[in-house]
């Protein structure tokens, strides 16, 4: 690809980018969220048309009008959000693009199925060809995507953040698989996780704000050097090194019992105290009641028994509005569906919790000027990269959406904050920023309940670490006592 440029309304997504990949090579395309990696690959696949520049394959210029042309040239892409139709079977999904089995009005499903079986055996990608997509886990769906791409004859694979939704075990498995495939294929693989870049690629190209800032051989550079080039400065994740000067207990949870969506007990007589100015990290394998705990504190789930006392007020089974008025801040787990209203503009999302009070509203009439000013200042303060304050929040990248949520919650000056997986799926630059902000508000005396799956995040930030297992707290450890090993053992349900 040479000198590719692409403009979207308000942003220059690709700015004079040139990259090249040789046969059997693995190129890692790295960059922060919103750096333009996905856009570039969509251009290569013919899904978008470039404004300038050209694409060469084996020194011949090609023009792809759509993905079909790209398939014919042997290109295949596994998108970040899987391109699978959930109410069709694996075989049907592949048949959709496998034109060799289309015979007039007849569809030769057996031929497709045979091909699926052949490809999955050849590459060691175990998939059940007759399963419906909705029955499969995320990791299995990804294998289907790989099989699909290979069935359609790809000799050149593009993988867009293939590991972002996988569990650590699935990631390891994928890396082994891809390694094996490189003997036959060329791969471009988009990522911001540097261990994977190091483990897989020969070459690395770094994008920032739509421009190539660096290209080189992966082996010549350390992860730290690549990380620094990616963000433009060195990344040092901040740590919580200060002593907590024993504030008063602000949130006191006693013996609460809460039901899950499936009507089973999600929280089983759970108790936990959190003081002002401390971060309590809640460690645990997800699905042990973390979601329910966050929801019951924020008035989004019924508390069957027990009490939650917040600055001396009983808040269990109060509605969310009351609890917010008491000074609770909340960064929810699902940022796209619970954290923002995707169709609302950024400025509207900033005032979701204050839309009826001053300065954003006067006697039921919105104050447009105050709302705009607020949005402009938050965007600058939190470095939200967006075309403008009127852009729909749902069109932003994950990291920027998270910054919008963080800005809203922090600027309301909460007395307490519940943060659920605040950095899930974000790049290093965004993680660093969010960690800094959390430590800042801790310093200002806000208590924080940090729910996370990343042990590093919990150990870096927390004053105390509570381990949750099957809906109750196994044990609360001081920062000094906590090691990866003893946390791991507690998380597995063993009492220490």
């Amino acid at each position: 690809m040479e000198h590719i440029s692409k403009r979207f309304p308000g942003v220059l997504a690709s700015d004079d980018i040139s990259i090249s990949v040789g046969e059997g090579e693995v190129l890692a395309l790295v960059g922060e969220n919103g750096a333009g990696k996905t856009t570039l690959m969509n251009i290569l696949m013919g899904l978008y048309q470039q404004d300038e520049g050209r694409i060469l394959i084996n020194d011949e210029e090609v023009h792809f009008k759509g993905p079909e042309d790209a398939f014919k040239a042997g290109l295949g892409m596994v998108h970040q959000t899987y391109m699978l139709v959930h109410n069709m079977t694996v075989t049907e999904n592949i048949a959709l693009g496998y034109k060799k089995a289309w015979k007039g009005i007849h569809l030769d499903m057996k031929k497709v199925r045979d091909k699926v079986v052949e490809v999955s055996e050849h590459y060691g990608l175990a998939v059940n060809p007759d399963a419906y997509i909705w029955q499969l886990s995320v990791g299995e769906q990804q294998k289907v995507e790989l099989v699909k791409t290979l069935c359609l004859g790809a000799r050149f694979l593009i993988l867009d953040e293939p590991t972002s939704a996988l569990t650590p075990q699935e990631v390891d498995e994928l890396i082994v698989l891809l390694h094996r495939m490189t003997s036959e294929l060329s791969i471009i693989f988009i990522s911001h996780k540097l261990q994977e870049v190091k483990a897989l690629s020969n070459k690395v190209t770094i994008l920032r704000h739509g421009k190539v800032v660096f290209s080189g051989n992966t082996d010549d550079y350390s992860s730290e050097e690549i990380a620094a080039k990616m963000t433009g400065h060195e990344i040092i994740l901040p740590k919580n090194n200060e002593k907590n000067e024993n504030g008063e207990t602000v949130l006191s949870i006693k013996d609460i019992v809460v039901k899950s969506d499936m009507d089973t007990a999600a929280l089983d007589h759970l108790s936990l105290d959190i003081k002002a100015g401390e971060i309590v990290g809640l460690a645990g394998v997800s699905g042990n009641g973390q979601r329910e705990l966050a929801e019951v504190i924020n008035g989004l789930r019924k508390c069957e028994s027990g009490s939650i006392s917040f600055f001396g007020n009983e808040i269990q089974n109060k509605n969310a509005e009351d609890i917010i008025r008491h000074g609770m801040g909340y960064i929810p787990e699902e940022r796209n569906t619970e954290g923002i209203v995707p169709g609302f503009s950024i400025k509207e999302n900033f005032i979701l919790k204050d839309s009826t009070s001053a300065p954003f509203a006067h006697s039921s009439i919105m104050n447009g000027k105050a709302i705009d000013e607020n949005a402009e200042s938050l965007i600058r303060k939190f470095d939200v990269r967006c075309p403008g304050i009127n852009t729909a929040a749902g069109s932003l990248s994950g990291g920027n959406i998270q910054k919008v949520i963080l800005a809203r919650e922090i600027e309301r000056k909460p007395k307490f904050l519940v943060a659920v997986y605040p950095t899930r799926g974000l790049d290093m630059g965004a993680v660093e920023f969010i960690h800094q902000k959390l430590l800042e508000i801790r310093k200002s005396g806000v208590g924080i309940l940090l729910i996370s799956e990343e042990l590093d995040e919990i150990m870096d930030l927390s004053d105390r670490i509570a381990v949750i297992y099957k809906g109750s707290i196994q044990r609360v450890l001081d920062k000094a006592e906590a090691t990866r090993e003893n946390l791991g053992i507690l998380m597995a349900g063993v009492k220490l």
Partner: protein, 315 residues
């Protein structure tokens, strides 16, 4: 008593055909991601044109069956054109489908009524199409009367159900339709032309709605009036949800609804003391109740139903 029940059941098949065709057509629309609330309007136009052709040919007298066939064909073509028109509005210009559909419904019903007054004038009946007794099978007592002595069009409509199932689940076109309505972005990435597929299914759906209307005027009522369709187009839309976008289940829904309707007419005609207003409500209440209890987390649902597709806008 047996006679009453047999009589009631024997009405189910012929009376369900219009619903069956219209909702199968609507199913194709929805499977491709577009719901057409204008179904009622397309049916009205189909009913008018279907009746007009044999009427003009014979002035209400007996005519060659070919004029009825021509009536059906004209209704199908007109319905397909309405589908095409709806596609221009909702697929190309991406207008909100609900509003566009209501517009189409009003246009179709109004237009059919006006044209009817211009070309026909008042209520006029046509001979319609005769019942065909299927040899041997129709001689079986009870069963024969219920299943095997109806008009030819209703047999064809029921034969079409497995055909529709095959088209949807076993042909490349069906695959494209299902993908376009469930995950158009995925379909697009696999080289399916989403807009074209939606247009095609809207035309198929429109043609079926037109046929459904023509069935009402030619085979069932043997006349046309402004109130001939009387909400069947909307019931057809509801039946698609009821039948989980599957032709066989939709057939079950159409039969159930029709049964409720014939049941209430029979109840009334036998003078059982029951307020007739409530009896008339029965089939509609049934639809609402069943829809309310239909499982929401249905994995077969076309999840992009009602959403216009634009490749370069991410949502």
């Amino acid at each position: 008593m047996i006679d009453i029940i047999t009589n009631m059941l024997s009405m189910c098949i012929p009376f369900s055909v219009a619903l069956l065709l219209a909702s199968t057509g609507e199913m194709f629309n929805q499977r491709a991601g577009v719901f057409n609330l204008g179904c009622e309007g397309v049916m009205a136009m189909g009913a008018f044109v279907g009746m007009l052709i044999p009427f003009l040919a014979g002035g209400g007298m007996r005519v060659s069956q070919w004029y009825n066939v021509l009536g059906f064909a004209a209704a199908a073509v007109l319905g397909a054109l309405f589908g095409l028109f709806f596609g221009v509005i909702t697929v190309t210009f991406r207008a909100p489908q609900g509003i566009a559909g209501i517009g189409l419904q009003m246009f179709g019903v109004g237009c059919a009524g006006t044209l009817f007054r211009h070309f026909v004038g008042g209520t006029q009946s046509i001979p319609g199409i005769p019942d065909v007794d299927i040899p041997l099978l129709s001689k079986i007592p009870v069963i024969g009367e219920i299943f095997f002595s109806h008009n030819a069009a209703s047999y064809l409509a029921y034969i079409f159900i497995p055909v529709a199932w095959y088209i949807l689940f076993r042909t490349p076109w069906g695959l494209k339709v299902r993908a376009a309505g469930t995950n158009p972005r995925a379909a697009d990435s696999m080289g399916v032309n989403v807009s074209r597929t939606r247009y095609e299914s809207l035309m198929v759906g429109g043609a079926l709605a037109g046929l459904a209307g023509a069935y009402l005027s030619i085979a069932q009522a043997k006349m046309f009036s402004d109130t001939l369709i009387s909400g069947r187009g909307f019931i057809a839309v509801a039946l698609v949800y009821f039948g989980h976008w599957n032709p066989v289940k939709i057939m079950g829904g159409a039969l159930l609804f029709t049964f409720a309707q014939t049941f209430q007419t029979v109840v009334q005609s036998f003078g059982i003391s029951f307020p007739y207003e409530l009896a008339v409500m029965l089939p509609y209440v049934l639809v609402i109740v069943v829809l309310a209890f239909t499982s929401r987390n249905d994995m077969s649902a076309p999840t992009s139903l009602g959403k216009p597709f634009n490749r370069e806008i991410r949502t």
